[in-house]
Amino acid sequence: MHELSIASAVLDTALRHAGGRRVTTVAVRAGAMRQVVPRSLEFYFQIVARDTPCERAELQLTEIPTELRCDTCDTRWSPQVPAFRCPACGGAEVAITAGQELEVDYIELEQEEAVCIAPG
């Protein structure tokens, strides 16, 4: 259900970087921990993008798997369920090295071809 809020935040970010130019693609990187439902985000993005330079832009979503690292024994793993204790030593000091991202990676813009005026 947070996809509407995220779609609005993605749209605002894209529009700020587009500077009024027409946007054809918005690429988003979302960590697995953010629990973004791709189809839901795309659906809401199309709604909030109406009547803006992002209207009908394609939302490309790349999901980043969660990666954890134990600070105590340096074990690294990708949990399939939200368990944040080290499976090797049981330690609670665990760093999340990937999976929390929620960023606009790039946007693609439509631009007029540069017109070359021949001298003379």
């Binding site: 809020s5 970010t13 953010r34 629990q35 960023e103 439509e110 631009q111 071809e113």
Partner: protein, 229 residues
Amino acid sequence: MHRTRVRVVEDALDANNTIARANRADFDREDVVVLNLMSAPGAGKTSLLEATLAAPLPGGGPRVGVLEGDVQGSLDADRLADRHVPVVQLNTAGGFGGECHLDANMVRSAIDQLPLSEIELLVIENVGNLVCPAEFRVGEDARAMVCSVTEGEDKPLKYPLMFRACELVVINKIDLLPHLDFDLDLLLHHLDAVNPHARRMLTSARTGEGIEELREWLSTLAARAPAVL
């Protein structure tokens, strides 16, 4: 026409976080510590506030103000009206059917109404929801949540973002335990897996059990030095 790619690499919530930092600067200037209190609808946030604010907090009685976030209406603010604490109601309705969470900009719009010079602790009661509020910082120093025993033991596994975001998890409605098929140990086990660092508290806003511990925690929080946001 041709296409140009523009590299952005920016957190989608950057704009919100920037406003949250501005809120924090305003709170810090007035020496007000801010708690963002979250839960599912009906977990007992307002009941717990009614119980904890029935008397001045221990430890010299830091003064408390409450910012009530709701989609609509002032029912919660009305309930707190006789607790002799300043309460400001913030409604998120309007726009897309009413936002399901508070964001930094909404809180910013209410700052002028808050008597910051008269309080040491501001409790922001977020909209009841275990999903979106975890995403949006509002300028708080600490985040806490209420999880009631009627919600089921699996909630930390279903809403890890929320359960990881909070430094305190208040497990409320424990007076109902004898009447429920609820495995408290299993909930605590799941909570430990998702957020081993969270402090836990068992409370009943109805009977008053655990309320003094929560009052002590709020009092200690009010004396906390500002954290870096």
